[in-house]
């Protein structure tokens, strides 16, 4: 048993959620369905932590690699492996899944079995995407993540769920078709192989790189989302049930950033450099545009959704700085954003469970009725705009340092985005937490239960600990990032490459 676990660690990690789905079929009651799902997600978290403990941070390449022939005619493999970058994102996925189950413990009371199965399905698929070393595997499971999200939105969502679901699917499909085009292009140009590591070692001509990058850019950009492809996100977020929003914001958006890191930078370094100015300006645009729009929202979920767009701008800003600080900051920012935004959606969901209203104007004075909730919401809000002492600050700082090597103007503009973030978050807090209750319903709300606290407290601890001692996570990815940056720098002109 132990050798199976040791030799096939990643396969075990992938298998656990799917085994959970199989077990769910046997569940007799809704209560059992919830318990089985919780058990499965915790088991996956356990395996992920095992992987973390046996992970060697000093090594820059892939670890725990497993390879098996899958469709030899097309040279498709089942190949998985972990490096520092994917380790972090796998950990994030495994961490948020049990929290999703806990968050939907009471709020989901119809078709519980199906709901839990979808959470497990999305978890399993995400883990495969983050560990895949084969582009075909990557693409297939990328597609799979979309399906459970669609059903979550359409079946358990809010009043506008059908339109939001269709919008989500149409955007995602467009994105993934272009992604498919890009991947097929790589396959055909790169000597008929889907192997990411093999493709990273090849050099493609400038033209090929340009077109493939363009296709991938749209595929990843829609997922991330970058402006102007973001308009599915606020709708999907505001209509999705709490766990759906958490998965969407916490993990799914990271697929885009991960794609850029895993595929664009190492395989298409020259095109990455060509597109970098566009990417950076789009990132800065997203930071400011998302923040301005968040300031105009009165719907809590839409507010957090637009703040997501703004914060994901930092991720691309860091990635396309092509230096260690920027890339590490971007990955850290992905992790932090996953946790903070997930927590914010959880908190908003907890309010929604109580009153079925997402409007800022229906609350007020929550510090009195729900002191524990008020503390939690305030903490995650200030974390979200990057208060020092929270992990988000470190991520944003590193991204800004990375970006400062090429242009100070962008740094300054991105910092304005942080001020705007402080403005919309504090304004939201002022109207929701402080002051007096505006409606009678808001004046008599029960405070958070132990279960609800259990979803938020671990996230708060992680945000704080990483904020004070970021080395915990950064040591994990240090070697991999150095490796990645070296690969990406091939595309840089000589005078820029000497900057570091």
């Amino acid at each position: 048993m132990s050798t199976i676990l040791a030799d096939h660690l990643i396969s075990c990690l992938i298998a656990v959620p799917f085994l959970g789905i199989a077990l769910l079929v046997l569940a007799k009651s809704d209560e059992w369905a919830r318990r089985i799902a919780l058990l499965a997600t915790f088991a996956a978290l356990g395996v992920a932590i095992t992987a973390l403990l046996s992970f060697d941070p000093g090594q820059s390449g892939m670890q725990f690699v497993e390879r098996a022939e899958w469709m030899p005619t097309f040279n498709i493999q089942y190949a998985v492996g972990l490096d520092g970058i994917s380790m972090l994102l796998v950990l994030l996925t495994a961490l948020l899944s049990p929290i999703c189950v806990l968050a939907s413990w009471k709020s989901i009371d119809s078709k519980v079995k199906a709901y839990m199965a979808l959470i497990l399905l999305v978890e399993g698929a995400m883990i495969v995407v983050f560990t895949a070393l084969d582009l075909f595997l990557f693409f297939m499971l990328w597609e799979v993540t979309m399906i459970p999200m669609y059903f979550m939105i359409v079946i358990w969502g809010g009043p506008g769920r059908i339109a939001a679901g269709i919008k989500f699917v149409l955007y995602s499909l467009t994105g993934s078709l272009l992604l498919l085009v890009g991947i097929l292009g790589l396959y055909l140009e790169g000597g008929r192989t889907f192997d990411i590591l093999a493709l990273s070692g090849q050099t493609f001509s400038d033209d090929v790189q340009f077109w493939i990058f363009l296709a991938l850019l749209l595929g990843f950009g829609i997922k991330l989302p970058m402006i102007p492809f973001h308009s599915w996100l606020p709708d999907a977020h505001s209509e999705a049930p709490t766990a759906g929003s958490v998965i969407l914001a916490g993990v799914l958006l990271k697929l885009g950033g991960y794609g850029f890191l895993r595929i664009c930078l190492p395989i298409l370094p020259d095109a990455s450099v060509v597109f970098a100015p566009l990417m950076v300006w789009l990132s800065v645009g997203a930071i400011l545009y998302g923040a301005c729009l968040a300031l105009a929202q009165t719907d809590l979920k839409r507010l957090v959704a637009y703040s997501s767009i703004s914060h994901m701008g930092f991720v691309t800003l860091g990635i396309f700085a092509f230096n260690e600080q920027g890339v590490q900051g971007a990955i850290l920012q992905m992790f932090n954003h996953g946790i903070t935004t997930a927590a914010l959606f959880l908190a908003v969901g907890q309010l929604y469970d109580r009153t079925h209203s997402r409007s800022v104007d229906d609350y007020g004075g929550l510090h009195k009725q729900m002191p524990r909730f008020a503390v939690a919401l305030s903490f995650f809000s200030v974390a979200s705009f990057g208060l020092p002492g929270t992990a988000n600050f470190i991520g944003e700082f590193l991204v800004l340092v990375g970006a400062s090597y090429t242009s100070f103007a962008r740094v300054l503009l991105a910092m304005l985005g942080i001020v705007l973030a402080a403005a919309y978050m504090l304004w939201m807090l002022q109207r929701v937490v402080l002051g007096k209750a505006l409606t009678r319903a808001a004046a008599a709300l029960p405070d958070l239960s132990t279960r609800e606290m259990a979803t938020l407290v671990p996230l708060a601890i992680i945000i704080f600990v990483v904020g004070v001692y970021p080395g915990l996570l950064m040591e994990l990815m240090d070697a991999s990032v150095i490796n990645l940056v070296e690969q990406a720098r091939v595309g840089l002109p000589a005078d820029m490459a000497a900057l570091d």
């Binding site: 919008k167 308009s231 929202q297 004075g365 470190i394 700082f397 001692y469 570091d500």
Partner: protein, 675 residues
Amino acid sequence: MTVFALIPLLPLLGFFVIAFGGNRLGEVSHRIGIPAVGLSAALSFVAFYYVAVAGPISIPLYTLIDVGAVSVAVDLYIDQLTVLLLLLVTVGSFVVHVYSSSYMIGDPRYRRFFAVIGLFTFAMVLLVMSNNLLVTYMCWEVMGICSYLLISHWAHRESAAKAATKAFLVNAVADVGLGFGVIFTLATYGTLNIQEILAAVPSMAGSDINLLGWLGFEWLIERNTLITFCLLSGALGKSAQFPLHIWLPFAMEAPTPISALIHAATMVNAGPFLLARMSPLVLSAPSAMAVIAIVGMTTAVYGGLVALTQSDIKKSLAYSTISHIGFMIFACGVGAFVAAIFHLLAHGFLKGFLFLSTGNALESASAHGHAKSSGRVSGSLAAGALLLALIPAVVIFSGPYEQMWTAHQTPAAQVAFFFLALATVFLTGMYIFRAVSSLFGHQVGNSGVLPNLFAPAYLAGVGVLVAAVGCLLVFVWTWFAAFLGPALGAQPPLAAGPAFSPWLVAALLAAVAGWGFARQFQPSPTFAGAWTKMAYVALLNRLYVDEIFDAFVVGPFIRFCDWLQGTIETLGLDNLIQTTARVVMVLSNWLWTVLEVRGLDRGLGGGADSSVALSRWLWRVVDLRGDAMVEGLGRASDETGEMLQRIEPRTLQHHLLVVVFWLMLAIALSYWLIL
């Protein structure tokens, strides 16, 4: 040495224990907070002695960030400057802790209060001890959020909530500059270690950066100058300089002990401290220094004038704080860092004392209906006020620092600075005594309730006192300058001139005159002259700075965001997407009509017709006896058709067509890419 690391850590520990200690701590939270801060105050005294004897100490703690060439270490550095600030912060915080433990009794958020002031103390202590600009910046921000939490202490009050948000956001705007400065410093010096930066300052002299390069223009500015401007930007916010001072008067929504903590002992001092800490850098940027001096002087005069007109004593004290801090910034701007720090310390202790006495007086006023405070309290208030009024005079005009007027070579500027400084001293004397007297006699214009502070005998006594205190201060001041000098590196050597100068006497006289004038001249809305009345009303409304910000910055920006949401996002982007979807729908509808209805359907219809004819023929020809069987079949196929109809063939077809459309596009793209 490492024991001094406990100075910041003890209040932090106190914060954790109180914050996570559960509700059972309740109203005994101060039993954790007071010893924690008391111990760090005691340690600060030890550190003071140590530094006085053995010079600066450096304590490395741990590495926060280590990525590539960027490394940020949390190091403590204790030199003369740090140690003096430490004394002010820890002792001030200790007094506030003790005072609050009785002042806040009965408050439902007693525990939260003590937790936050613990964290606040930690942030300020670490700020003055940090040897890394990033850590300084972090503490800077943490203090901001603590002040947010403290101002919103009585969160049920709408005004407190607004004041808290305003305070944080105004600071956040200013901190963009400081944060940018940190990143720019890192890019310039390659390190954020403050001592290393200061040592490298001369090597960066003359190194320029093009500010408008990204627009294709050229506007060169020296790197050191830019960094100094960034530091000033931070100071504008935290130290409430004009025009970003607007948060401070509203911060009076906090409980009174907080006013003592924020406005006297800690937060507002961060600006002058930062400038003094980075003094070699500041001195290398003369043009930035001129701006700093102008900002400081504007603030000092503005604060003094507005303080004169405010009827609320807490508001009046707030503006006096703004004015005093402006004075310190001004001193930094002319290179008189030692004077700024002396002023800072003296102001910190005295203003804290004034706020706490005010708290007492207001408490007793609300308890007894009228402020009949004991003579002891009013006496102590008067003494504090007197000292406060004299400080600017002494620090700016005492002998050794007369030379600082030569920091700026233009004689006109010297004269202007000189007279403005004198005017500020005069104003300080005036508003301080007005504030004190308004507390004890609510209608000062009416001689009936005038406090006896203004009796002629007292005036004479005060004259003597002024001279005595002036002597004392000057004596302390000379020692102080010798002590602090080494910490500020590139200070010009102190001239061994006489401590007393004509200017000092003039300044002391100005202070006394201000006080005396306050008795004669009471600003009130009943002014006869149109001009004086207009000036009075304008000052009463704080020159409408808040309103200007609301009308020209905040309001338009919110409208801009709403416009973005309404026009760009909904009408523009969303519409675009929906139009695309509609076009695809129309296209598929057209395809459907053309292909299905006109083509396939007709074909099929023809086929069906002929098959019907065929079957009729068959029926007729082959077997009439099979009638019953055929009928049965017909019924079955009818049912299937109905079932299929229920699935809405149209939408199904649309979906298929949309998919086909995309597939064709994708195939065309890939075909084109690959060939």
